[in-house]
């Protein structure tokens, strides 16, 4: 009995510790001093004849974690899938506006989506490891991209960065499908960072995971953001508050004929979004009055 109480006490103190860590974040330098990775101007995304997103303009900054939050159906996933041309796979998809990546428009017809995806990696909502060995999951991308020198070292480094190395070092040759959900997702992160992208997009990376696995992945973001820029979609506000430097709140707008589309309501430093939002809709959402 006393043991159980002790455990719960230590668990709650861990949570307090985590909260304290995230509230003691360093103040961000002024925006003008930050390097822009993405400059999105007037982005509108349309599936068939239904607009999923209208007129989004914002900038994503280097070596920060940028969170996209908002209710279901507000176009969060559509938005970040524009960053690496993943929507190209949907035949009915069209978009207008520009997305500049370090000044270069990546949404043009003349831009090769494969080249875009080489520098802008992605981690998906559900862990989707290849049905191959743990080693080959990480090595496949490296081989495809011709990064074959020191292959084993690169695999080890990626798995270490993804905080998975110690758990899998003895079974690199066994199937990745035998890993737990959280391990699989960290393997997917390792696979994404192994090819040394500049940006890693994450589409609700922890939504299919338990709290402990989620915490590990959030920890990873803290440790890796000095090397990569992260854009993370989440419907979990606490998660955004914990991991993100900048937070964008998207909401659903309704037209006169009942049509719905997503739009950007507010984009600011995470602290400000959660403590002193300037838009009423943001306040309603982050305080739980809506959504």
């Amino acid at each position: 009995m006393s043991e159980i109480r002790e455990e719960s006490v230590s668990a709650s103190s861990t949570i307090e510790h985590a909260v304290r860590v995230e509230t003691k974040r360093q103040p961000l330098p002024p925006r003008e001093r930050l390097e822009q990775v993405f400059d999105i101007q007037d982005l509108t995304a349309i599936y068939g004849s239904k607009p999923a997103l209208k007129n989004v303009s914002m900038a994503v900054y280097e070596n920060l974690v940028t969170a996209i939050i908002g209710p279901s159906g507000c176009g969060k996933s559509t938005f970040i899938r524009c960053f690496n041309r993943m929507n190209d796979l949907v035949p009915s998809f069209r978009q207008t506006g520009t997305i500049r990546y370090h000044g270069q428009d990546i949404s043009g017809k003349d831009v090769d989506p494969v080249a875009v995806r080489r520098t802008i990696g992605m981690v998906f909502q559900r862990p989707n490891p290849f049905p191959k060995s743990i080693y080959d999951n990480v090595a496949w991308g490296l081989r495809v991209l011709g990064m074959k020198d020191n292959l084993s070292d690169r695999v080890e480094r990626a798995l270490t960065q993804a905080a998975l190395w110690d758990e899998v070092r003895d079974r690199l040759k066994s199937s990745a499908l035998g890993l737990s959900g959280g391990q699989q997702q960290r393997l997917c992160i390792a696979r994404a960072i192994a090819v040394e992208p500049d940006v890693v997009l994450m589409d609700e990376p922890a939504s299919a995971l338990d709290p402990i696995a989620t915490q590990k992945i959030e920890q990873l973001l803290h440790e890796l953001k000095s090397e990569y820029s992260f854009v993370i979609v989440t419907h979990n506000m606490q998660q955004a508050a914990r991991v993100a430097d900048m937070t964008a709140f998207f909401s659903i707008s309704r037209g006169p004929e009942g049509e719905r589309w997503g739009e950007l309501v507010e984009y600011d430093e995470t602290e400000k979004i959660f403590t002193a939002p300037s838009d009423k809709r943001t306040e309603d959402y982050v305080t739980g009055r809506f959504g």
């Binding site: 796979l89 990696g121 290849f130 495809v144 994404a192």
Partner: protein, 301 residues
């Protein structure tokens, strides 16, 4: 449970009795229909086995007898030439139909737009429905006229019959591969062809083999095209497909026409081997299909 609790379920209701009667009647009809199918298969297998079983021996597979030229009767009969011919011709057909069928399926499922996809799928369905004799006649006009019959011509004719079977089976398994895997591969910056060859296609090997195995079982017994393009055969075992080769269906066809009882028995033996072959390959295909479905399901969790 006491009877008083059940009494609510036994409320007097005249329609209930009628519904039960109809239910029993329908079940009976369905059961009879199923039994009928099994019955006919049973009759075919039993009569073929009864008449052909006496001829099953090692000699059947090692010796070959010229049709219509039985000597003293002291020689043992065999169908080795027919088995060799069928093996060579089915091999040629598979070598043509398998790669083309897979390529068609990859194009249709991974690259083509919706309209082309529908058009190609429809074409494959029509091709699958073309009678074998028409395909035989087509190949006769295309290859045999002016060049003579050959094992190549028969292999080509059978590959035309095989192609839609392999293609459709491959399209079906490709469609089962979850999109999350394609996204995963494209997400690390792999081009589409690498994604298809390296990640998607390996998932479908079991399904493709299933389709190919069923197709082989189907074409191995195909007679009509063989009669047209590969029937003027020489004596003895022949591995050379540039000449007309004896095949199992052709041997059955010709032997069953003979007057002597031993030759007719040989035809039954050939039929028995063919049935056993089809049974075996169908079971193999089922096993492969179960295995590959389990594998894909695991990957798509």
């Amino acid at each position: 449970m006491s009877s008083s609790e059940l009494s609510v379920l036994r409320r007097p209701n005249d329609r209930l009795g009628r519904r039960r009667a109809i239910n029993i009647f329908m079940e009976l009809v369905a059961w009879l229909a199923a039994a009928l199918a099994v019955f006919f298969l049973g009759i075919v297998v039993w009569s073929v086995a009864r008449k052909g079983f006496s001829q099953l021996s090692l000699d059947l597979f090692t010796k070959s007898q010229p049709i219509g030229q039985f000597g003293t009767g002291s020689e043992k009969l065999g169908l080795a030439n027919a088995f060799v011919g069928t093996l060579v011709i089915v091999g040629i057909a598979t070598a043509i139909a398998l790669p083309f069928g897979i390529l068609i399926a990859i194009y249709v499922n991974e690259f083509a737009g919706k309209r082309i996809k529908n058009a190609v799928t429809l074409t494959l369905d029509v091709l699958a429905g073309v009678p074998a004799i028409v395909v035989g006649f087509f190949v006769y006009g295309l290859i045999v006229v002016g060049r003579g019959q050959s094992g190549y011509a028969a292999g080509f004719a059978l590959s035309v019959l095989m192609l839609p079977l392999v293609s459709r089976a491959t399209i079906e398994v490709l469609a089962l591969v979850p999109d999350s895997l394609r996204e995963a591969a494209l997400g690390v910056g792999a081009p589409r062809w690498r994604t298809t060859l390296g990640i998607v296609l390996p998932q479908t090997i079991g399904g493709v083999l299933t389709g190919a195995t069923l197709a082989v079982a189907r074409i191995a017994g195909e007679t009509a095209p063989v009669l047209l393009v590969c029937s003027l055969v020489g004596q003895g075992i022949n591995w050379n497909p540039s000449q007309a080769l004896m095949t199992v269906p052709l041997a059955i066809f010709e032997l069953s026409d003979q007057a002597d009882a031993p030759e007719q028995a040989l035809a039954w033996a050939g039929a028995l081997v063919l049935i056993l072959f089809i049974l075996f390959t169908s079971l193999l295909a089922r096993w492969l299909a179960t295995r590959s479905r389990r594998k894909i399901a695991q990957a798509g969790r």
